[in-house]
């Protein structure tokens, strides 16, 4: 599945391992939150990078203690209408200070990308949007009323910046 990151299409080096699945001997893997908690020692002890995939029900606060040891967080959108992932992303970026890759996976559409980018996502794994569409989506607005995880200053604040 195409992976778009930093304005270009890149190779996906990561494999998602189901809770009951066998761990591959090598390579970068993402696992679910419950597997991470159950097997944290073994997983964090591997000689490869580790990532976590959150489902919409997951509490990103449960990841806080692992954040400095994981290299990728995937937030899944089983349906594009389920907006919980935006709150998860905002929390990870702004409350828990996660700075690694934050990837949207699942039902990811071109016209959601801007909201995702603003919520802190920096990578998009999708079959429903192409690179040019994503680049275009990210340039549709230059001003935003409210602050968010993208670090843009709000219009509320920009109106009163000293020239």
């Amino acid at each position: 599945m195409p992976l778009i990151k930093n304005g270009s299409e890149v190779q996906n080096e990561w494999t998602f391992v189901e809770d009951a699945g066998a761990l591959p001997a090598s390579g970068c893997i993402t696992v679910g939150l419950s597997l991470l908690r159950d097997e944290s020692e073994a997983l964090l002890g591997r000689n490869t990078q580790l990532g976590v995939r959150l489902t919409p029900e997951d509490d990103p606060g449960d990841l806080a203690e692992y954040l400095d040891r994981i290299s990728l967080i995937e937030i899944s959108f089983p349906k594009y209408t389920d907006g919980r992932g935006y709150s998860q992303a905002q929390l990870l970026r702004r409350r828990y200070g996660y700075t690694g890759e934050l990837r949207a996976v699942g039902h990811v559409l071109r016209d959601q990308i801007l909201y995702m980018d603003r919520s802190g996502f920096d990578a998009f794994e999708t079959t429903r949007a192409n690179l040019s569409g994503i680049v275009e989506a990210l340039s549709e607005y230059s001003d935003f009323y409210q602050p968010a995880a993208d670090g843009n200053q709000s219009v509320f604040a920009r109106r009163h910046e000293k020239a």
Partner: protein, 552 residues
């Protein structure tokens, strides 16, 4: 009123171009219909029974003559010569072609207007007191905070895919004319120790599960309010039900969680916000927005107007209209005029393009260029000098806009019903018209006094029947329309959900039952000053229920 600066103008123009692109991609087949739906909804485009419907936002119901003339032009050029005022103080056009909608949105942007988030599972248009900035009983003007909420909630990246739609209302008077207790979030402006803040009500709503909101905070200071609202929204976005559309509103979350526990979750989320999450709303920005809502340059007038008094004495129709359609103003010598869109036998809330042009002209000439849309689907000229009221009345009368029934029995809230709406089970408009005929006589209506009759054509309750003093709900029984009557609902500071009186009535039985309810009230009231709702509260519902079914 608020004027766009370069930021507001740019955001709205960017939005038009974004939607233009989305429509083109939809027409080219790049976006599936299912994936297009939330995009069109968040731009105000519904698919109705006969055609696409476009709902244009009128933030907190305020317009000026330029905006109103643009709305008239859109009605004339892109629709069939009329628009429909809604219970969210917006306007809907029922006959706009999808291909024209980007052009309509571009025309709106030219006059600082948009259709952003007038539909879809996002934060909708914030509603308010239609007499804001004018009413004698107002403590604080809610409009500046409505505007701040509008901006904060516009294209908010975290809250565009909520479990369900989300509605805010704000009021600043003791008497709640904004129905804040039947909103997802209702804010009542308060002052405490010299500070401005908000009493916060959450989880009210109508629809198939009507609930009066729970108060979760007595006072949130204005500097904290946006952060507090973000906390509520985040709790809802994360924990609101998504398994069942009919249980997805925040009222269900509040009820199932318990109001106290819900309040605790909000407080916990609010307390957990880091500095990096706080919304910086500079004091200068609060002041900048407030500056748009300072009072207009009123003349220094005596409280009584000789011209007004003599016109009343010589023109009995005017005298009657003035007794009903004027509202006390905070400035001596001024009044607020309601332009009723509830002509007897008309379509509740509809205005023709010509009528909109008349309203625009009157606002420009006599009301400091200010017009309001009310949640009861009427228009208001908020600041008219008493000296000018007779002239205003004469122009309204010439345009068929001088119906004297503000808040009387024929001033009903009526949803479009089965005549227009895909969801409806029964017609609403004709049953409202039949009731109007019974009570059309001006003196009779006035004698009955203030009484809210609200009619919905299905349990989604767009006609607010749950909070009508008398509510009427259309239901379908094996293909035949029936109407269920409820009593004792109200949307004000004593908000309550009406009680169903008994079995539903046939279409033909409704006007007679209404007449018997009113006869009962007139027989029971202690004096003509005792309002219907007060008599009902004092006597209980039984005599009225008996009256409804007395014909059996």
């Amino acid at each position: 009123m608020y004027r766009y600066d370069q930021f507001d103008a740019k955001i709205v123009k960017d939005r038009v171009e974004q939607f233009r692109g989305q429509v083109l991609r939809r027409l080219a087949g790049d976006i599936l219909e299912d994936e297009f739906k939330p995009l069109r909804l968040q731009n105000g485009v519904y698919l109705q029974m006969h055609a696409y419907m476009l709902r244009v936002a009128i933030p907190y119901g305020q317009l000026d003559s330029t905006k109103m003339r643009k709305l008239a032009k859109i009605a004339r050029v892109y629709d069939r010569g009329y628009g429909h005022m809604t219970t969210r103080q917006n306007i809907q056009y029922n006959w706009v072609a999808l291909k024209d909608i980007p052009d309509v949105l571009a025309e709106l942007a030219d006059v600082d207007m948009h259709a952003i988030q007038t539909s879809g599972n996002c934060i909708r248009n914030t509603t308010s007191d239609h007499f804001a900035g004018a009413a004698k009983d107002e403590i604080m003007d809610p409009r500046p905070w409505c505007e701040i909420i509008r901006q904060w909630s516009t294209l908010h990246p975290e809250f565009a895919f909520l479990p369900r739609k989300f509605k805010f209302a704000v009021t600043g008077a003791d008497h709640d004319r904004a129905a804040i207790r039947v909103h997802d979030i209702g804010l009542h402006m308060r002052r405490k120790d010299g500070q401005v803040g908000f009493e916060v009500h959450v989880g009210g709503g109508q629809g198939r599960t009507p609930i009066v909101a729970s108060k979760i905070s007595d006072f949130v200071p204005e500097d904290d309010i946006l952060d507090y609202l973000e906390a509520i929204m985040r709790v809802y976005n994360r924990f609101g039900r998504r398994d069942n559309k009919y249980k997805a509103r925040i009222k269900i979350l509040v009820t199932e969680t318990g109001a106290e526990e819900f309040a605790r979750l909000v407080e916990k989320e609010f307390a957990a916000q880091s500095d990096a999450e706080k919304i910086i709303l500079p004091r200068a920005e609060i002041e900048r927005i407030h500056a748009y809502f300072t009072p207009p340059p009123f003349a220094d007038l005596p409280a009584k107007s000789a011209a007004f008094e003599s016109a009343k004495a010589s023109d009995p129709d005017f005298d009657n209209w003035a007794a009903v359609n004027l509202h006390a103003h905070k400035q001596a010598g001024y009044t607020s005029v309601t332009i009723s869109l509830k002509a007897i036998g008309g379509l509740a809330g509809d205005a023709t393009d010509a009528q909109m042009m008349v309203a625009a002209h009157l606002a420009e000439t006599y009301s400091f260029d200010d017009i309001r849309v009310t949640h009861a689907q009427n228009l208001v000229l908020p600041h008219v000098a008493l000296d000018d009221v007779h002239k205003v009345y004469q122009e309204l009368a010439a345009a068929g806009l001088a119906t004297a029934n503000e808040s009387l029995i024929t001033d009903m809230i009526v949803c479009p019903g089965l005549d227009y709406c895909n969801l409806a089970n029964a017609r609403s408009i004709p049953v409202g018209q039949e009731i109007q005929k019974v009570f059309a006589d001006p003196a009779y209506q006035r004698d009955i006094g203030k009484l809210h009759v609200n009619i919905s054509g299905c349990i989604n309750a767009c006609g607010h029947h749950h909070v009508g003093h008398i509510g009427i709900l259309g239901v379908d029984r094996k293909g035949e329309e029936f109407y269920q009557i409820s009593l004792g609902g109200r949307a004000d500071e004593k908000a309550a959900i009406g009680d169903i009186a008994g079995k539903a009535l046939s279409f033909d039985d409704v006007p007679g039952a209404m007449k018997r309810i009113i006869d009962t009230y007139r027989g029971l009231r202690t004096s003509p000053d005792e309002k219907f709702i007060d008599t009902l509260e004092r006597t209980g519902h039984d005599p009225f229920k008996e009256a409804i079914y007395a014909a059996d």
